[in-house]
């Protein structure tokens, strides 16, 4: 264990939870809101928050990592690149492939931000989301306490699952200071292919393949080409490649897709994310679409208004998020009435002084 710890520490590691706690307590006392941020790499998501910045990056470092336990615990301010590097050294990975939306340099995305935003990459439909890999958290609450929920074990049903609730809550329920994540070994083999076909055919094939034990771990379609990634043992990956054929492609594609670096994303029109039931047919929407997650996530470049997009997307059981900052006052799809009421009640209970990122997700919370 001592050796493991040695391996993952860096000179900048520091437990600054007392500093963060003090800042929260001051905010509670003064009744002044905080704008919680790591590297601010996902500032484009959500609404503007007026508040004093609480920067989690002073609280950083991997706390424990024992590869045979498949669990890593890191402070919120730890750069995601540092976490990924430690995992890679042990032949492991965070299967949900969170995007960083940063360059890996000074403005590098943090572990805390990854949890708070809850965004997952191309592997998500097959591996699970960021939330699915959360085992435990430490959180500074709206009552000014630094508390621990969940833990470092795979199964834990004691009390309410506050750790997974924190994932994707955009800092509106508390300051995440530390997180324990389940990790997995990297697949032994990874191959990516491209097949030319139109969207309708691609979605039909994906629905059909989805019912078979194929080692697909990513599936994207740009209107013309279906790209697939296979991951697993040598036998299954080779068999899938043989069966489906296609051209081999550079796997760097998936990173470019995940980080929004493909040409598709450079188009000047606003960007919308559509989250849809897996077997949703081709959606007729103004603008251009890029299909990810085997059809369950689609990117839309359009000048159409939010209401128009949401009417079409809601009708098939999905929702739409605006990724172009400031364009829409409700970047996240508005909540149904009873849901919004319970969101407000939960916010009022967990953040009674309203200090944590007020309005970041919705004006009312």
């Amino acid at each position: 264990m001592a050796a493991e710890r040695q391996l993952h520490t860096s000179a900048q590691d520091r437990d600054a939870s007392d500093v963060l706690l003090e800042q929260v307590n001051q905010a509670i006392q003064d009744g002044l809101p905080l704008r919680i941020q790591g590297a601010n790499s996902k500032a484009f998501l959500g609404r503007e928050v007026a508040g004093e910045v609480l920067d989690t990056r002073i609280h950083r470092g991997i706390v424990t990592y024992d590869p045979t336990e498949l669990v890593i615990t890191a402070r919120a301010g730890t750069p995601l690149s540092e976490l990924n590097a430690a995992l890679a050294r042990a032949g492991q990975m965070l299967p949900c492939e969170p995007p960083t939306f940063s360059d890996g340099g000074v403005g590098d995305a943090t572990v805390g931000g990854m949890i708070a935003a809850g965004l997952s990459g191309p592997r998500r439909p097959w591996s699970g989301s960021v939330r699915d890999f959360v085992l435990g958290t430490r959180v500074i609450t709206g009552l000014g306490k630094h508390l621990k929920f969940g833990g470092e074990v795979m199964k834990n049903v004691a009390g309410y699952d506050l750790s997974r609730l924190m994932a994707g809550s955009f800092g509106c329920l508390g300051v995440i200071t530390e997180v324990s994540l389940k990790v997995l070994p990297k697949p032994r083999l990874c191959t990516s292919i491209a097949l030319e076909m139109d969207s309708a055919r691609a979605l039909a094939r994906l629905a059909q393949w989805g019912q078979q034990p194929l080692p697909i771990s990513a599936a994207s379609h740009d209107g013309r080409v279906l790209r697939l990634r296979f991951e697993g043992g040598e036998g299954s990956v080779a068999a899938a490649h043989d069966r489906l054929g296609g051209e081999s492609i550079d796997p760097v594609y998936w990173r470019a897709l995940n980080e929004h670096q493909l040409d598709f994303f450079t188009d000047g029109r606003p960007l919308w994310r559509l989250s849809l039931p897996t077997n949703t047919a081709v959606l007729d929407l103004p603008g251009d679409q890029l299909i990810d997650w085997g059809g369950a996530q689609r990117w839309l470049k359009t000048s159409a208004c939010g209401n128009e997009i949401r009417a079409i997307v809601s009708a098939v059981g999905g929702h739409a998020t605006c990724y172009s900052h400031g364009l829409d006052d409700t970047p996240f799809q508005p909540l149904a009435t009873p849901l919004l009421r319970y969101h407000r009640q939960l916010k009022a209970q967990l953040d009674p002084h309203g200090v944590f990122n007020p309005g970041r997700m919705y004006a009312e919370i």
């Binding site: 939330r131 997974r164 034990p213 697993g232």
Partner: protein
């Protein structure tokens, strides 16, 4: 300390006139089946934790969501506590009734509403049995992954309420990882949908919060689960070891090899002997521990992984490694494990099943600790362990007819759970807190953490009418438990009965 509802420490419950409530319900819901006579109520006095029994005031057996909705409205107006129950197989007393409450039995909601093979999901009513979902999906070569041992009987609504696990969690996750959407009724009888048919939903992840919330935040009326393609093949290796430490280390070695088995189970000698006597699975009865390692997936990969795992096991000092030759033998190997509880039950008039989790590396120390506690309390303990995910099921053997043995079993169980917490684990991996582990919650969480849990409850059920007394102890209970705890083992007045 008594785990039955105690108004003194668990909070006062409103005094309800049974006849008036019955009359009101009959008037508002003339077609609802309501049980109210002593002899009708008796079968519902406990769930799978049968050592604890309370006769409910009334039992209702609705068949339509509108009935549940009206029932909740009536109970809410009158301040009547409601305890929801599925199949009643829970092992932590999560559906233990209240004398002053209505038991809401959801078992008649047993219809599979829709199987969508292309979308790979199933929409079902909450009373549908876990196994029935996989059976209904089987024609499409799909299945529902979480498989608690009680899967032939337990209901999916109960699985959601408890965040049920099973033997395949390391690879396939818990209930929470296999859900898309849950329809609920709030304490006021209002409909709300958590999650969606898509992979995520806007707002807070209330689906995750409700999963495992033990009926404290709402009543589940419909569940949409994910279905997975059935693995092409599954193979099982059985390895025998002459010490549990070696078996424990072998588990870490398999993971270090980069292999995630579909199932990875350990049993100690007492459990092995009991299972072999009962099922004749072909287990080596003189082994100190056995590991069952199931590898599933595409044939070519599984074949390779079997060779890899065999090499790891041999290197780790296994005295014998056997691969099930055919499907019949594979099923037999698993039958021994899946029937370990009843098998151990044959060794003793009663047994008490624990459910702690620990970081896997702590296994040897914790097993030693359990062994010492077993001697101290004079009760045998058999160990069954979901080794892949660190979930232990020590089975404490006792005889409830011997005065004081149940108390001793309970005290021993409590000590084992506290040991789990001490090494960084949890008091419950998959059975839930319910009433059973209400006192041990005070060991795992401090008063600030418990206060936050109560705040979550207050956001959804401010008057505390849904399943009162379960899952989260009052600070009052913890204070009293803490005071008693100091003297545990040297209780004042040991001759007094303590249930």
């Amino acid at each position: 300390m008594n785990i039955l509802y105690d108004e003194r420490v668990d909070g006062p419950l409103p005094a309800i006139d049974k006849a008036q409530l019955l009359h009101a319900l009959q008037a508002r819901l003339p077609d609802l089946d309501i049980l109210h006579r002593e002899e009708e109520l008796r079968p519902y006095e406990c769930d799978g934790l049968s050592a604890y029994r309370t006769t409910p005031m009334l039992v209702v057996l609705p068949e339509r969501v509108e009935q549940v909705q009206t029932l909740l409205k009536v109970c809410h107006e009158r301040g009547v506590p409601v305890v929801a129950r599925g199949a009643g197989t829970g092992l932590s007393g999560g559906a233990l009734p209240l004398e002053k409450g209505v038991l809401l039995v959801m078992a008649r909601f047993n219809r599979i509403l829709h199987i969508d093979p292309a979308g790979r999901f199933a929409r079902v009513q909450p009373g549908v049995r876990n196994l029935a979902i996989s059976q209904a999906a089987a024609p499409y070569d799909l299945y529902y992954a979480p498989d608690p041992s009680s899967q032939i009987a337990c209901s999916i609504g109960g699985n959601v309420a408890e965040n049920a696990g099973g033997v395949h969690c390391l690879k396939y996750g818990l209930t929470v990882h296999n859900l898309l959407k849950v329809d609920i009724l709030t304490v006021e009888g209002e409909r709300m949908v958590l999650g969606s048919d898509a992979l995520d939903t806007p707002g807070f992840d209330l689906l995750a919060l409700f999963t495992g919330s033990e009926g404290m935040l709402g009543v589940i009326t419909e569940v949409t689960v994910k279905l997975l393609p059935k693995p092409q093949v599954a193979r099982v290796l059985l390895a025998a070891f002459d010490s549990v430490e070696k078996a424990g280390r072998a588990v870490g070695d398999i993971i270090a090899e980069g292999i995630i088995p579909g199932g990875l189970e350990m049993m100690d000698n007492l459990a092995i002997r009991a299972a072999e006597d009962f099922i004749h699975a072909g287990y080596p009865v003189d082994a100190e521990a056995i590991l069952l390692c199931e590898l599933d997936g595409v044939e070519a990969d599984v074949h390779q992984d079997c060779d890899r795992v065999r090499a790891v096991l041999e290197k780790a000092g296994a005295t014998e490694v056997r691969q099930a030759r055919d499907e019949a033998e594979r099923v037999r190997f698993w039958a021994g494990r899946k029937n370990a509880f009843p098998a151990v039950g044959r060794l003793s008039p009663d047994y008490y099943c624990m459910d702690g989790t620990i970081p896997r590396r702590e296994l040897p120390g914790v097993l030693k600790g359990i062994c010492a506690l077993s001697e101290e309390y004079g009760l045998r303990v058999a160990n069954v362990f979901h080794a892949g995910d660190g979930n232990m099921h020590p089975l404490i053997l006792f005889d409830a007819n011997q005065p004081g043995e149940l108390d001793r079993a309970e005290a021993l169980g409590g000590k084992i759970l506290e040991l789990c917490v001490k090494v960084g684990g949890s008091i419950t991996g998959e059975h839930g807190v319910g009433r059973e582990k209400i006192n041990q919650m005070c060991a795992q969480f401090n008063s600030d953490e418990l206060t936050l849990f109560h705040a979550v409850k207050a956001a959804f059920d401010p008057s505390g009418m849904l399943n009162p007394g379960k899952n989260i102890p009052t600070l009052h209970r913890c204070a009293e438990f803490g005071a008693m705890h100091v003297h545990m083992g040297k209780l004042p007045f040991p001759e007094l009965e303590r249930f």
